[in-house]
């Protein structure tokens, strides 16, 4: 089972766990609607698009309302700390949450007690918490953008807003240097997918691939397009691809969906997500070797 956990920007949205389905422009979990917009909603939607295409089981999602005060974050983490051993997901994705180091530390301890290996993916606030607490190496995949890569490279930073100036540079040309620093200080997951003008896939400190085509610069402005990459990586790993393969296919798929949508800075992320099936149909077999015919998987 794949489990996706993160907050949603709706005050008083109760802690809810269940399977998400797409209905119109919204996600619905246990009868409650979540907008398919920047954040956990975009990530879940992208993962759903991929597992739906691959005819896999839809992810379980664990969500709670939080508009920045941490209430939903604490509910999600406390639930997982208590229950992750029983849930024992194959893949667990932690997403938008208030970065609280102590909660992340307790959750990682609980995960260690799971009866089988949990493939751990973190992005957004959960990645910030994992790094700040010195727990990055407990994770299999991080999906930082170029700015967040500078945060991972800075051993003293506890949030991307407090990164040493000499490390902060939006130019992804510096990514290899930042990647090296992050691994040196043990502040990187085993695999990094660094999102930027050029996407870098880094396995154990080695840059194993870069993706820069198609070039759709406007995607950087579209809120949620980093979240969709994380959702795709999770789905492809869950489908059985190796993490580095999943990262490469996710990066290519996201760019191609942006191209298909003719993205501008005013594009909404749901327009990008709406293109994934067309992208998979045209390219997934060629990129991943996962090929479908009308009768099913080949």
């Amino acid at each position: 089972m794949m489990l996706i956990a993160g907050t949603v920007p709706i005050r008083d949205f109760p802690l809810t766990m269940g399977r998400a389905v797409l209905e119109g422009e919204d996600l619905v979990v246990e009868g409650r609607r979540i907008p398919c917009a920047q954040g956990t909603g975009a990530m879940i939607s992208a993962a759903l698009a991929a597992v739906d295409y691959l005819k896999l089981e839809a992810p379980q999602v664990l969500v709670a309302g939080d508009i920045g005060q941490g209430k939903g974050t604490r509910e999600i983490y406390e639930y997982l700390i208590q229950k992750v051993g029983d849930i024992s997901p194959q893949v667990m994705v932690l997403h938008y949450c208030l970065p609280v180091m102590a909660l992340m530390r307790r959750l990682c301890e609980s995960v260690q007690g799971c009866p089988r290996k949990v493939l751990m993916i973190a992005d957004a606030g959960s990645m910030y918490a994992a790094k700040a607490a010195g727990l990055a190496q407990r994770f299999d995949i991080f999906t930082p953008d170029a700015t967040e890569m500078a945060f991972l490279a800075d051993p003293d930073a506890t949030h991307p807003a407090y990164v040493a100036r000499h490390l902060f540079d939006a130019d992804t040309g510096r990514t290899p240097e930042l990647v090296a620093a992050a691994y040196e200080h043990e502040n990187a997951a085993r695999l990094l997918l660094v999102k930027g003008a050029t996407d870098y896939v880094v396995d154990g400190g080695d840059i194993v691939a870069t993706v820069d085509e198609p070039d759709v610069p406007a995607l950087e402005a579209v809120g949620g397009t980093g979240d969709t990459i994380t959702g795709l990586v999770a789905a492809f790993v869950y489908a059985g691809l190796e993490p580095h393969e999943a990262a490469i296919v996710a990066a290519r798929s996201n760019r191609m969906a942006g191209k298909f949508a003719q993205a501008t800075p005013a594009t909404r992320v749901r327009e990008i997500i709406g293109q994934f099936h067309a992208v998979f149909k045209e390219y997934l077999c060629q990129w991943s070797g996962v090929c479908y015919t009308a009768g099913g998987q080949q």
Partner: protein, 179 residues
């Protein structure tokens, strides 16, 4: 026989609120606890000492919400600083990218894009704190001059950086002769 004591959940905040005197620190502790923030009275390291030798450890990520809560209750404090010595100051770097019809302004890890003709906010991207998707929904489609300020309705450092991006967008927009 050994007694087993349940360990209290540890608190790791990463930030310090600094004060002129002990009374201010005690007052601030009460204010922030009432506002449901996790805080702990600690001694600041000498290099961060700006007034008294009592400080409040807080979650640095929550800096904007904490400062707003203190100001609302007129609780005096000197400033908020990262706990780790050597940690740099809040990022001040702001960059703008012109896409033709829209401009994207990046402040730290946050990006805000607006339409050059109408001044409407068309997108918010970046960040990872839970107030950012909320701010996205509150800001997008509003005019720059009429949108709520992230520093007023957000709670985290991501919101603070987004506010800086909005401030720069306003300068660019109004500098272009628009109101």
């Amino acid at each position: 026989m050994a007694f087993l004591r349940r360990k209290k959940p540890s608190f790791e905040g990463g930030g310090l609120v600094l004060f002129e005197d002990v009374q201010d620190a005690m007052t601030a502790e009460k204010v922030l606890k009432e506002a449901d923030y996790a805080v702990k009275l600690v001694a600041p390291p000498p290099e961060l000492r700006k007034g008294c030798d009592l400080a409040l450890e807080v979650n640095l990520v929550e800096q904007p919400g904490i400062e707003r809560a203190l100001k609302e209750k007129d609780a005096a404090y000197v400033g908020v600083a990262p706990l780790r010595v050597g940690t740099s100051q809040l990022l001040e770097i702001v960059k703008a990218t012109d896409f033709g019809g829209q401009v994207m302004v990046k402040a730290g890890n946050m990006k805000l894009s607006f339409d050059k003709e109408s001044g409407a906010i068309v997108n918010v991207s970046g960040g990872g704190c839970p107030d950012i998707p909320y701010l996205h929904s509150e800001l997008v489609d509003k005019k720059l001059s009429e949108a709520p300020r992230p520093r007023d309705i957000g709670f985290t450092l991501c919101a603070l950086m987004l506010d800086r991006a909005l401030e720069e967008c306003l300068v660019l927009w109004q500098g272009g002769g628009q109101r």
